[in-house]
């Protein structure tokens, strides 16, 4: 069930008869990419502040109330949106929705809470140094996606230090029902829930200012980031890939299954099983507005980095030779299986519904998703594979020096 409220907010509700709990996801389409020049990190600080008081309740009161309602929650931000998610017992849903409405529309923006959030946000950036795989992904995004979509969400320390509470207030005033998505799934009655949602959210007024992003190509940056004391070389490749609205999107999903899903998938077999080059190697799909990317990650010791990259590139290239029937069948059963198992949990379903609305302006049913992939025939899949070459635009490494003595490293590949 999907509805647009009078103020433009999109709401989707789905009953899951076998669930015990209820879960909802709110996406506010004002993410880190909307942080003005010189204020990178504003959204991250703002997200940290969301649980720190609203509608006159201070942080202790708000957090205690959330805890008393037994709400498992997370507040996150990406380049495109801020997301608020909650899982709870169904009888608490009304109160939770009311509370979350206050969190979004009536933040306290307390000065002291702001100072503490700034501290935490700065530390969070520094902590990434101890997580080289995460740092690699941030740097890869920065080099691949148009700016500011690819700009690291956590921001820049020097710019965070210059933020004021006024910046937070302004950013939060940019949340608008027209660009908000609310999805609810679980042990609920959709009709009743929609009545509640209408009552709570209809009063939310459109933001005075809804900015559009102006995108520029990413900057050229070095292809290796030195971390001399690292144990492994982190490897990341990013290649342009289909967008969600592309009619070939289901074939792209199946391609990913063949490439990376499960222990008989191509990357796992060639990079890990046969050659023992890695413990971790995987590919995944990343989407920023209409910019689709296939990202491949691997971690390996310096003496194996060159071979690792070569094998990954060879596998991406080999896709154009087509798949066999067994691979196709395996990919289909994996997809079907993963979907059904994920959707046992209301939290996964609510999240998936919200992202569907974001990408497709509608909610796809599980059977529709399964059908779109399982109906693909081998011939049409292979002609897709032949025409859709996966060419890494960026190859980035992070860690100790690994390049061969001729010093040419990435260029040779």
């Amino acid at each position: 069930m999907i509805r647009k409220l009078s103020n433009g907010m999109t709401v989707a509700v789905e009953k899951m008869p076998n669930a015990k709990s209820a879960s909802f996801t709110i996406l506010l389409q004002r993410g880190a990419a909307y942080d003005p020049e010189g204020k990178a990190g504003l959204t991250a600080v703002m997200t940290e502040m969301l649980s720190r008081g609203c509608a006159g309740k201070n942080a202790v009161e708000l957090i205690s109330e959330l805890d008393s309602l037994g709400i498992e929650r997370s507040f996150d931000c990406s380049a495109e949106y801020v997301s608020l998610s909650a899982s709870l017992l169904p009888d608490k849903l009304d109160r939770a929705l009311n509370l979350f409405f206050d969190i979004i529309t009536k933040p306290n923006c307390d000065q002291n809470e702001f100072k503490q959030s700034v501290e935490l946000s700065i530390q969070s950036i520094l902590a990434i140094e101890d997580n080289p795989a995460e740092k690699l992904m941030n740097e890869l995004g920065l080099r691949f996606f148009p700016y500011p979509l690819g700009r690291p969400v956590k921001g820049i320390i020097s710019e965070i230090k210059k933020l004021t509470v006024r910046d937070i207030k302004k950013a939060m005033s940019e949340f608008s029902p027209e660009t908000a998505i609310l999805s609810i799934a679980g042990n609920i009655e959709p009709d009743e829930v929609l009545v509640s949602v209408e009552k709570i959210f209809s009063v939310w007024k459109t933001a005075s200012e809804i900015r559009k992003l102006s995108l520029t190509p990413p900057k050229e940056l070095p292809s290796h980031i030195e971390k001399a004391l690292g144990a492994q070389v982190q490897i990341g490749l990013a290649a342009p890939f289909v967008s969600a609205k592309d009619p070939n999107y289901p074939k792209a999903i199946l391609l990913l299954m063949i490439l990376t899903s499960g222990m008989s998938s191509r990357l796992f077999v060639e990079v890990r099983e046969k050659r023992g080059l890695v413990y971790a190697v995987r590919a995944f799909y990343s989407l920023m507005q209409d910019n689709g990317a296939m990202i491949v990650y691997a971690g390996t010791t310096p003496d194996k980095a060159e071979e690792c990259i070569q094998v990954i590139c060879a596998e991406l290239e080999r896709l154009k030779e087509g798949a066999n029937e067994k691979e196709l069948e395996r990919g289909k059963i994996k997809y079907r299986s993963s979907l059904i198992m994920a959707c046992e949990m209301p939290s996964s379903r609510a999240q998936a519904m919200a992202v569907d609305i974001l990408r497709f302006d509608r909610v796809r049913s599980i059977s529709e998703m399964i059908e779109s992939v399982t109906k693909i025939e081998l011939e049409e899949m292979n002609s897709f594979l032949k025409s859709k070459r996966i060419l890494p635009k960026i190859i980035l490494t992070l860690g100790p020096e690994w390049r061969n003595k001729s010093g040419d490293g990435g260029k040779k590949i």
């Binding site: 709990s21 959330l66 805890d67 009888d91 501290e119 530390q123 492994q232 499960g262 008989s264 971690g299």
Partner: protein
């Protein structure tokens, strides 16, 4: 509020003549089935020169069996659309797969076949490299290294103090014969539990299990690992120059698997003290921006346990954070939670238990571990009843045992910090 139409789950347990224990939780409303083989062997059973062998063995089970090549094993797992994996812990090795209901018997049969691998030398040699890479991967994740240091300090020289992954040296020196020998001593049906949860019938599981040929190993008596366990008091510190943050953890004696109710009581204290939001440590350490993260909880073993509390911070805040952590331990004894603070923690505990019961894999892990560690089985209602029955007196009685930390450990760039 709509009425709950979820049908009740049904639990059954049997022991086959081979010694294999089977526990099944039927959840008719589930859309999947989770299958797990829990083997009663882990790093604590390893003599020092075999450090890492249990984990290596876990990897070898995904390689060639007596009937299939490694690739055929992996294809069979994927043909079922399974989410399959395994883990090795101090006292157990667990192999599991979550599948759609129609693949239950294939999954049970395949994993049973896998845990009696062919031990091909080529598989062994290749997989050694993967394990060495895994060791290096964790060397880049300092937050995952601290607990190893604590375990070593606490239980040295007992094998419980060793690294689950082993070290580069012990892994490089492991031979194929050493591993086969270890497997023949440790993998016997009498030391294995098959746990299944989800859209399944107990009798169907038993029918499949009865036909399993779980290898030809003879049962042996336990070797290393059951000697008297040392419980050292120590401070340990590992310097890693390249790290940005300092990680810290303190541990105290906690309940073992033999103390079922005490585990829940200690878990409750973990929430009160170290939950991500709303806990004593979160208010004084992370909410204020002094620390990046905090944690507290309990790790149980057969004959001992650890209650832990820790944080990660920048070096300039380390001393202050450490002081505050110990202050909060003292304060939870001197100024125990009032009724509403206690009730909130209980609500979180109960809520999380209900939420995690929606995952067939979560349920399967629970019943498997409970059976393997010989704890009583509780269905969801019974478990909630237990949680809601915990009193603040019980929690205060446990927290009053947390005096001076038994072991303190840190990892990071600081040269001198304790």
């Amino acid at each position: 509020m709509s009425s709950n139409t979820v049908s009740k789950s049904r639990y059954s347990s049997t022991v086959l003549s081979s010694g294999l224990r089977i526990v099944v939780e039927e959840i008719p409303s589930a859309a999947s089935v989770a299958v797990g083989f829990f083997v009663e062997t882990g790093s604590r059973n390893e003599p020092p020169e075999l450090m890492g062998v249990s984990h290596f063995l876990e990897h070898m089970s995904f390689k060639a069996t007596k009937k299939r090549s490694a690739l055929e094993v992996n294809m069979a797992l994927d043909d079922m659309g399974s989410h399959a994996n395994a883990y090795t812990s101090w006292e157990r090795t667990v192999f599991y797969a979550q599948v759609l209901p129609e693949f239950m018997s294939s999954a049970v049969n395949l994993i049973a076949e896998m845990i009696d691998p062919a031990f091909l030398v080529s598989d062994f040699d290749c997989e050694k490299n993967v394990i060495l890479e895994e060791i290096e991967m964790y060397n880049d994740r300092p937050e995952s290294l601290l607990f190893d240091e604590i375990m070593q300090a606490r239980f040295s020289p007992h094998p419980l103090s060793g690294r689950i992954l082993g070290t580069r040296e012990t892994i490089q020196n492991l031979t194929h014969e050493m591993m086969k020998q270890y497997h023949s001593e440790r993998y016997h049906p009498s030391r294995i539990v098959l746990a299944v949860s989800g859209a399944v019938r107990a009798e169907d599981v038993e029918t499949v299990a009865e036909k399993l040929a779980l290898g030809s190993n003879k049962a042996t008596t336990f070797s290393a690992g059951n000697n008297t366990l040392p419980k050292n008091k120590a401070k340990c510190s590992r310097i890693r120059e390249g790290d940005m943050q300092e990680q810290f953890m303190a541990v105290w004696e906690g309940p073992s698997y033999k103390e079922h109710r005490a585990l829940y009581i200690a878990g409750m204290l973990g929430i009160l003290l170290g939950d991500e939001e709303g806990s004593r440590l979160s208010w004084s350490l992370t909410h204020t921006g002094l620390a990046q993260s905090i944690e507290a909880g309990v790790v149980a073993f057969t004959d001992t346990g650890l209650f832990y509390a820790g944080f990660a911070s920048l070096p300039e805040n380390f001393s202050k954070c450490r002081e505050i952590l110990f202050d909060e331990i003292k304060r939870i004894k001197d100024k125990p939670p009032n009724k509403s603070e206690f009730e909130r923690a209980k609500t979180k505990f109960a809520s999380r238990t209900i939420l995690s019961s929606e995952s067939t894999q979560g349920r399967m892990m629970g019943i498997g571990v409970d059976e393997l560690t010989r704890q009583p089985h509780l269905n969801l209602e019974e478990e909630l009843k237990l949680i809601l029955s915990i009193t603040s007196d019980e929690v205060n009685a446990f927290s009053s045992t947390l005096n001076e930390a038994e072991v303190e450990g840190s990892i990071g760039p600081m040269q001198e910090n304790m």
